[in-house]
Symmetry: C2
Subunit: 175 residues, 2 copies
């Protein structure tokens, strides 16, 4: 079962860091790949590819000219994260028990009305304004029931050894 | 018991949206106030004040010239969120049972070594690179055991009525 995070309407200058953080969170919390629409941003793709080279896993980011085409041609289920949707706690069990591949759609500043109608579930992570980054992380955390926190990433070059104070990072490719 | 989120080394141009998202997540997930060091950013403070006017609650953001002074003069406990720290699952119970006020410290790109030594707990939300926004949201979600998702905000002008499709927002100050 594959989880794809679809970021709508990326604008390289304004959204650069937020979209980077969004995909880093997607990877760290167990999603398998990212797709973004809006303006193509090679730098964003390279940043994520660089993180995967160093920290492992197979998370990849692709550009799609039309998010709508991605969703319409999708054979699995679509979840749209929005503060206007149905609370996470009322939807997560049904979503979790659905075996199909899933797209988790997150908007930017302005989300087209169609996003709401094309989604199988519109899900709110609180009905307060916050961030697509926190919304996605919370969603994945509840979806994976916390198991994602202990996830290991294959092929990593570096591995953190948790410390009470300071940093310890092993280069696990060195002999 | 008061929870303060302390953002280290804010740079208005580069960090504008990420720090805004960080404090919006702090508010939405139950923190009481925000402090940031780095460069003073009136726009950031106004954005947060505007959200509180519209969506309620008493979350406030203040600037501090020295984050170190804030931490050194602090009588409560200090939690530092960092990918190099001790896993959330191994620390959250002890932190939750501590009755003192708490600062949750989150860095930007480069965190001074002192942040690690001044903290009572260095806590990792996965040992992978992601975002201070997702790290903070996950921490608060586990700290409040999910109760924060149903939190209501006093004095709100607007309230969302959750919908399966589309948006419904009530202006609760109108007669």
């Amino acid at each position: 079962m594959v989880i794809t995070v679809l970021r709508l309407g990326h604008r390289p200058i304004r959204d650069k860091r937020v979209t980077t953080h969004l995909f880093l969170a997607a990877r760290a919390f167990g999603a398998d790949r990212g797709i973004y629409s809006g303006v193509k941003d090679r730098k964003l793709e390279e940043t994520l590819a660089g993180v995967c080279r160093e920290w492992g896993g197979s998370f990849r980011v692709e550009y799609a000219e039309s998010w709508k085409k991605v969703v319409e041609e999708w054979s699995g289920k679509v979840i749209h994260l929005t503060m206007y949707g149905v609370p996470l706690r009322d939807t997560i069990r049904a979503i979790r028990s659905e075996p199909a591949d899933k797209i988790i759609m997150v908007g930017g500043e302005k989300v087209p009305t169609e996003a709401y109608s094309l989604a199988d579930w519109n899900v709110s992570i609180t009905s307060q304004p916050h961030s697509e980054v926190s919304a996605l992380a919370l969603f994945l955390h509840e979806y994976f029931e916390g198991q994602e926190l202990a996830r290991e990433f294959d092929g990593a070059r570096f591995r953190v050894v948790p410390q009470e104070r300071g940093k310890k990072v092993l280069d696990i490719t060195s002999p």
